[in-house]
């Protein structure tokens, strides 16, 4: 919802904190989640995300959530789906080129980032979206990727994409995931 998502950007600092807590909880629960099986959790978690993030951020379920790197303004709401915005077409006052009645998602993003503790993450060059991950749970992915990064298992599964965008792999691991997809053989 447009009003909620603008609220999230205004309160970007608090939402950043909330997201950090959420990630820590999920990482802490990893032994349990692994025992249940990430594959089995995938659908219920995606269902929750679709509704919670849908309401809060107008989430499009790209599966590679980078809200913490974009001032809590979801970049998939940009009609050009920029992961590194804004484009050069922003209208006077900060409105969208394609949808003139909407605030530019990326003007909001830079604004939100300016209030965040780790707002500088917006300066990192993000890779293009992996469209095969659409509809999957970004929260579980974030947790898996963080654990892998902590355990230092990155080198074994290193992808060319992660090598091309190493800063993004570092600061927003879901944007260049390396862990195996549940139910699939290896990393994409």
């Amino acid at each position: 919802m447009y009003a909620f998502r603008r609220f999230a950007v205004r309160r970007s600092r608090q939402f950043e904190w909330l997201y950090q807590v959420l990630e820590r909880v999920l990482v802490g629960l990893d032994p349990i989640l692994s025992r249940i099986g990430y594959g089995r959790l995938e659908r219920p978690m995606a269902f929750v995300e679709r509704h919670v993030k849908g309401l809060m951020f107008d989430c499009r379920m790209c599966g590679q959530c980078v809200l913490s790197s974009t001032g809590m303004s979801c970049p998939m709401n940009c009609p050009k789906q920029l992961r590194n915005g804004p484009c050069g077409g922003v209208r006077p006052g900060g409105f969208c080129e394609v949808k003139p009645e909407m605030r530019c998602v990326w003007v909001e993003a830079w604004d939100g980032a300016s209030r965040m503790k780790h707002g500088d993450k917006i300066r990192v060059v993000l890779p293009p979206v992996d469209r095969t991950l659409e509809g999957s749970s970004a929260w579980l992915r974030a947790s898996r990727e963080r654990i892998q990064a902590i355990q230092g298992g990155d080198d074994a599964n290193r992808t060319a994409l992660a090598d091309a965008y190493p800063e993004a792999r570092e600061s927003a691991p879901t944007s260049a995931p390396l862990t195996a997809e549940p139910g699939k053989g290896g990393a994409s």
């Binding site: 590194n84 077409g89 300066r123 293009p128």
Partner: protein, 326 residues
């Protein structure tokens, strides 16, 4: 040896690259030599006749370091950038192959980058692209698989690492001088230099800006660019162009995405007896002012349907030069 390679005008994809250069580009050579570089935009024909391309390039070829071939700018369909560049490289002109993310996905773009480099293209300009709604076929499917910044990094990876984004090896990497655009005078003006920094971080070697009509705004932008230490890491060519009349300027302002023209400029055109001459004069003055700003390495002239004025504008602005060879 095939006849193709005996032709002195034929394409030679892998000429030696000077030390410290990333490509065999003449534009790169001019910029690294400290010359005030000039690039200009070609009006792409709605035609399949190569002669129309040469005709359009004629007024620009002698006075520029490279000619930009637009990629369906404003989402209007014309001859493709890669086609125009391929034709012009055969006649020895430097070209800037513009790649917009609007119409092609990463598979198409990576293939075209190799094709363009094989055809002799040495400069690329990475653009996000205007929305399809701005053009004459608003029902088209917008692609936007990449954005300009991720595209810059993608091409740099192809060039420097010799790999596709999948990791598959490229046996002869494309030697390209990588360009990007920036629009210093439109909102969010406070973050435009930061976005430029991202493009430099991604791998941009040069920047061509959108139209600059507001010198104070551009100066503030350049000040931030210098403060961030970007002036030494990237060559910046400021975009300029002659306006035809107040009416045309107003139309452009409301119909062309991302265009900032201050009212004072439009008033000047309105009061002028010959608005066309006044537009040219304004352009000359802008170039002279831009040239004085530290950190600017050249100008990019976008003289849509007024290409015949480019040589005169440059002469009047004091950028007289020997005809550029090749």
């Amino acid at each position: 040896m095939s006849k193709f390679f005996e032709d002195p005008n034929a394409i030679r994809p892998y000429e030696p690259i000077p030390d410290g250069h990333v490509s065999g580009s003449l534009l790169e050579r001019a910029l690294r030599a400290g010359e005030f570089a000039v690039t200009s935009e070609l009006n792409p024909p709605d035609s399949a006749d190569p002669e129309d391309v040469f005709e359009a390039a004629r007024p620009l070829a002698e006075v520029t370091d490279a000619i930009n071939a637009t990629d369906a700018s404003g989402a209007n369909c014309h001859m493709s950038s890669i086609g125009i560049c391929s034709l012009l490289t055969r006649t020895g002109h430097g070209t800037v192959y513009q790649i917009s993310c609007r119409d092609r996905n990463r598979i198409a773009i990576q293939g075209d980058v190799l094709g363009a480099a094989a055809m002799g293209v040495r400069n690329v300009l990475c653009l996000t692209g205007d929305g399809v709604g701005a053009g004459d076929q608003p029902g088209a499917k917008p692609v936007f698989d990449l954005d300009s910044v991720s595209l810059i990094r993608l091409i740099r990876t192809m060039r420097d690492t010799g790999q596709f984004l999948s990791g598959r090896k490229i046996t002869k990497p494309p030697r390209l001088f990588i360009g990007a655009a920036e629009n210093p005078c439109v909102d969010p003006v406070d973050y435009r230099a930061d976005r430029l920094a991202k493009k430099v971080e991604a791998g941009a070697d040069f920047i061509q800006t959108n139209y600059i009509f507001d010198i104070p705004r551009f100066e503030r932008f350049m000040e931030r660019v210098r403060d961030m230490g970007l002036g030494k890491r990237v060559f910046i060519l400021a975009g300029v162009g002659p306006l035809a009349s107040a009416k045309a300027a107003r139309w452009m302002r409301s119909n062309v995405p991302g265009l900032h023209i201050p009212d004072s400029v439009i008033e000047r055109l309105e009061k002028a007896e010959k608005p066309g001459d006044e537009g040219r004069k304004i352009c000359v003055e802008l170039i002279q002012q831009i040239r004085e700003i530290p950190g600017v390495s050249g100008v990019h002239i976008m003289a849509y349907r007024r290409e015949h004025l480019v040589a005169d504008i440059l002469r009047e602005a004091g950028i007289a030069r020997m005809a550029k060879a090749g």
